[in-house]
């Protein structure tokens, strides 16, 4: 009896050791699990095309897509498209976020401004991105400004909505502290209200960057002679599914990259 208990104890000690020793080492690589299903899908994709289930003129093999992107990269053709798209997204986001910050701040602080503007902006936000394209082309021509403005429109709404509610909902508890200690309007905004709304602002910016990528596709598919979206529509005209799929992958890559970047900023700024 006594010996059994002894071995039980030793056994459980051993378990505890492996819990603290081996498992954390494994859990560090846990994120790799997220790659398993995508990798499997790529294999299935390859097999389906190789065995003729999908015709190559409709869906190219994965390697062919990579090869096409690589060739375009080597010839230099790809970089122009990528840089113009990145440039549009960058300026669009910059503009959209700036205007969103102004409107979000004003409506968050002043009930009257909120009552006047919020119903309008709430309904405008529900208009699909593509619906704006013809009007923007008519107003601003097919130049860069139409595209940047369209992207800015997309980036604007999440920033506006999140910041406005973020500022309006700063807890009464903190507002009262500012009041009791006579911080005054300006100081209480600077030291209490705005910092408290920063997390909401960053959530808004993340949403805005996401929508910016949607709106850039809308703009480039219809009215562009350069850019990743143009590359896509060009792939359709040329009957080159490898170019289309390659463009999708490029959007996925840069979309994820920008999201990670904003997330990184978020983690660094909102560290409390």
């Amino acid at each position: 009896m006594a010996t059994t208990r002894e071995t039980d104890r030793i056994g459980s000690d051993h378990d505890a050791e492996s819990d603290s020793g081996v498992l954390p080492a494994l859990s560090r690589f846990r994120w790799l699990l997220g790659l398993v299903v995508p990798a499997g899908l790529v294999v299935v994709w390859h097999v389906l095309v190789a065995t003729g289930v999908f015709a190559p003129h409709q869906l190219p093999e994965p390697l062919r897509v990579v090869g096409t992107l690589y060739a375009m990269g080597v010839s230099g053709e790809l970089w122009g498209h990528i840089s113009i798209t990145l440039q549009r997204v960058f300026f669009g986001v910059l503009l959209g976020v700036s205007v969103g910050v102004v409107f979000g701040t004003v409506t968050g602080l002043y009930g009257l401004a909120n009552d006047l503007l919020d119903p309008l902006l709430q309904s405008l936000k529900n208009i699909p991105s593509l619906a704006w394209v013809p009007l923007f082309l008519l107003w601003f021509g097919i130049g860069e400004s139409a595209k940047v403005l369209l992207i800015a429109l997309g980036a604007f709404f999440p920033v506006y909505l999140n910041l406005s509610t973020g500022i309006a909902n700063v807890g009464d508890e903190l507002i009262e502290v500012a009041e009791v200690y006579d911080l005054g309007r300006i100081e209480s905004l600077r030291r209490v209200v705005f910092p408290a709304a920063v997390p909401s602002l960053l959530v808004g910016i993340r949403g805005g960057v996401g929508l910016a990528w949607m709106f850039v596709v809308a703009a480039e598919l219809i009215a562009a002679s350069q850019g990743i979206g143009f590359l896509m529509s060009d792939g359709r005209v040329l009957a080159r599914p490898d170019i289309i799929v390659g463009s999708i992958l490029l959007f996925a890559f840069f979309g994820n990259l920008s999201d990670l970047a904003v997330k990184g900023v978020e983690r660094r700024v909102v560290d409390w």
């Binding site: 508890e173 903190l174 009262e176 502290v177 500012a178 009041e179 009791v180 200690y181 006579d182 911080l183 005054g184 100081e187 030291r191 209490v192 910092p195 408290a196 920063v198 909102v270 409390w272």
Partner: protein
């Protein structure tokens, strides 16, 4: 000015309604300079409302409430600091910055003297070494001490405390009470503390104002004559506690 001009804190016939509910009904209270007064009463008797009136968070009420003879509606509330029931700290700011929130508006925070004062206060409340910590890194008791230091930074005529220890465990509560007494002795601040804890009120205060009923009215005022530093088992304190519980009708 009027007869209330002589007292650090003077409340006369204070009645406060929220819609049809009467929270306080004809409350009189005076606190002299350097005094420690506790206001005790059951939940819902308007204790917190009293402090909200004094700190200028309630604009509309009947009667008179004045700090150093100045009505709280005419800027008298500028002279009070408040420690709320919850610490209410800025989550993104470190302890030093949180304490500096209490510095009077004329003081430049970047000023060396102001920085020294903030650091001194952090030491006074026993948080040396935590000046650079964020509230999320502090325990409940430590966070409440930051809140106390913030109130002291304001150099108030009266420091109001709204059940500041009610969320703490017994041991931490005792620690915080003793710390508050030390700070009070050191700084000489006039203190008005609201609590539902009879033992706490008797242990801390020179005078205990018992609020009762709904709406809140002053039932009685109990003087606690036990010498300081006090022993928690001092018979005088026990007698005071009995008098308070009697007044509360328990």
């Amino acid at each position: 000015m009027s007869s209330t001009g002589d007292h650090t804190l003077a409340v006369e016939g204070l009645t406060k309604r929220y819609g049809d509910t009467v929270a306080l009904d004809g409350v009189d209270l005076t606190v002299e300079e350097g005094e420690f007064v506790a206001v005790v009463g059951p939940s819902g008797c308007g204790k917190s409302t009293l402090l909200r009136v004094l700190s200028g968070l309630e604009e509309h009420f009947e009667g008179r409430a004045a700090v150093d003879g100045v009505d709280v509606r005419d800027g008298g509330s500028d002279a009070v600091g408040m420690v709320f029931q919850e610490p209410r700290l800025l989550a993104w700011a470190d302890v030093r910055e949180n304490v500096a929130v209490g510095l009077p508006s004329g003081v430049d925070r970047g000023d060396a003297a102001a920085r020294d004062r903030v650091d001194d206060l952090i030491e006074t409340v026993g948080l040396d070494g935590f000046a650079g910590s964020r509230p999320s890194e502090l325990s409940g008791g430590m966070a409440q001490r930051v809140s106390l230091a913030r109130g002291l930074a304001y150099r108030p005529e009266v420091l109001l405390l709204d059940e500041p220890f009610s969320a703490l465990d017994q041991l931490t509560k005792y620690e915080q009470q003793d710390n508050l007494l030390e700070v009070w002795a050191e700084q000489g601040t006039t203190i008005a503390l609201v609590t539902h804890d009879v033992e706490e009120a008797a242990y801390l205060a020179d005078r205990v104002v018992v609020l009762g009923g709904q709406p809140g009215t002053v039932e009685t005022v109990v003087d606690v004559d036990a010498p300081r530093p006090r022993d928690r088992t001092d018979p005088e304190l026990l007698a005071a506690r009995d008098a308070i519980t009697d007044a509360l009708g328990l």
